[in-house]
Symmetry: none
Subunit: 192 residues, 4 copies
Amino acid sequence: MPTPSRRPRADAGRNRARVLEVAAHLFTERGGEVQMADVARTAGVGIGTVYRHFPTRQALVEAIAEQRFLEILGFARTMCEKAASGREAVRTLLEHIGQVHEDGRALSRVIESTLGNTAPRGPVQAELRELGDTLIARGTADGTLRQDATFDDLYMLVGALATVARANIGDWHRFIDITLAGLEPRTDPASP
Amino acid sequence: MPTPSRRPRADAGRNRARVLEVAAHLFTERGGEVQMADVARTAGVGIGTVYRHFPTRQALVEAIAEQRFLEILGFARTMCEKAASGREAVRTLLEHIGQVHEDGRALSRVIESTLGNTAPRGPVQAELRELGDTLIARGTADGTLRQDATFDDLYMLVGALATVARANIGDWHRFIDITLAGLEPRTDPASP
Amino acid sequence: MPTPSRRPRADAGRNRARVLEVAAHLFTERGGEVQMADVARTAGVGIGTVYRHFPTRQALVEAIAEQRFLEILGFARTMCEKAASGREAVRTLLEHIGQVHEDGRALSRVIESTLGNTAPRGPVQAELRELGDTLIARGTADGTLRQDATFDDLYMLVGALATVARANIGDWHRFIDITLAGLEPRTDPASP
Amino acid sequence: MPTPSRRPRADAGRNRARVLEVAAHLFTERGGEVQMADVARTAGVGIGTVYRHFPTRQALVEAIAEQRFLEILGFARTMCEKAASGREAVRTLLEHIGQVHEDGRALSRVIESTLGNTAPRGPVQAELRELGDTLIARGTADGTLRQDATFDDLYMLVGALATVARANIGDWHRFIDITLAGLEPRTDPASP
DNA sequence: GATGAATGAGCATTCATTCAT
DNA sequence: CATGAATGAATGCTCATTCAT
């Protein structure tokens, strides 16, 4: 790894990145029982350094969560154009999110218990919103999603999916199937 | 109140019931910050007594959760027969569950963070399973649910619904709508 | 000491007294660098026990300070009647207080830096006030103190004396001399 | 302000003065909770620079205290000659000192808790001593102070006055009154 | 059975000081 | 000379659980 000498020069927040990476790793493997001191030790820095960059345990978790959002956002942008339809675009996104939560169950639980279900702050939030709106619009336009589908529906389903995937409540692929079926245009507007 | 003298009569597990009731109350109002000592004090017993009946905090939470399951089970039995169709029976059940979690958000969070998503143990589990199977069977029989709908689907959706309702992720009534739409018989076999 | 077995029965706050005694000792010898854990260890109890009786470091210091006040109060009552005059009664009191602060310099500093100059709360305060008033009244009545001497003067001088004695600013006996001379009846009302 | 470019000219100890000034300000306003980093930030320098000039927090406080002594010394020199008598000269000095401590209570406490009651080192000490001796000598010579009054008395009373003024123990003007009365020539040799 | 005092490992956070650049 | 990122020992406090009475 990029750690030539013990105390490089700390070019800007090189350490910050390292701490973040290490923390994500530890949370993923050991969950909430990870202590700030563990993070520091594993990252090879003093605990003070961890606190310089993340003044609170919660701040650290927030940073990790934001990083995750960014990864998902990146993936979503790439995939968005390749999908055959609006619904398939949503499906791909959901599958990715489900996988992220399955792969990082412990981390997911830490984020959930620390931040509740707070949406990301600032620019990320705006980008997320924009992306979601785009997907929904595409689906309603090409007729692969119900006309009344909204961003809020998507947001809600993502939250639910995260729970299903991280808590191992059932087969989250199946959850996506059912859910997307529920978002299809209603053939029979008056359900029997 | 029923505490005339210092030691009323120590009737069997009168205390157990009292502790359980008080604990549910406190968790509902103050969430996870409730301490075992609070429970004891509020119940008017020593903390040792609490531990006699519930050897662990987790055990106490489990007992509360089971009680909840029982209430839901009771409601479900009553409602089951009145519903117009299998799907409507499921809807009624889900609506009830959503309401329970909305009304007891803090308690819901405590249960979630303490027990993860562990299903109830013992007899309750069996009864729950039986009830669920019955509902699903009725729906597939009367054609108001997809033929491939299973108990596991229901279990998963209940878990997801609980999250949506307790974390306030969105409108859980809407969640039920989408979800039940997804469980309808497939008019268009084209979707995977 | 009255510690037959390791965990006697903790008759009421036997432990409380022990912790208080030990804490006073340690503060007297090592001053502010004493940690709560030290107190617990030295007292032979768990740190939780210390916190049970004194929920805060400040609370512990307050208790020690109050104890000191009580000792002084006790001494003052005894001495009050034996003194030849009001002024001599005040002198005896001041000498005692000076001695207490000289003997417990480090403890005095801890009390000062923790509580500032807060007067004792509750009943002790009232008793102190009463005693002081009595002394002043006697002195003004028998003509050994200035007619305009007040309790507030005494309170202020005690505070100043405490500083002189604990900080070793000078000879506190001399401070008392000067101070009492200043409280004598004014022979010459218009000072030259 | 004198910070045109990033590094003005680095004139000798221009920084030292700035840090000193800023630190005194901060201590006066926020007391002991001021951190070294606050001082650096407010002074617009790096924390390393603060430590270059004052190798220790205590050193910084000492420098501030010395500065104060110098101000008082300056005032004393001016006033000394104008006073009507030795006693009045002492009174004027004490009034000034009381005012300084009242105006800078928080700073006073910081100095006290950091330095205890250490007298200033080096030349300032000598000047202070000389001034005090002069005042006392004048008072004993013109008969407005007791013949046995000494510099140590004055030093002690100043220390006590500082406590009264900074801790708000009582009316420090009254303290000066009583104290000076105690330093008057003894009309009645009866008292010890 | 009941009681509640005692336990003590565990934890997040602070801040004066150092030193590589 | 200046900078400020890094350091890490120190600290007060919590709370589930135990056990002597």
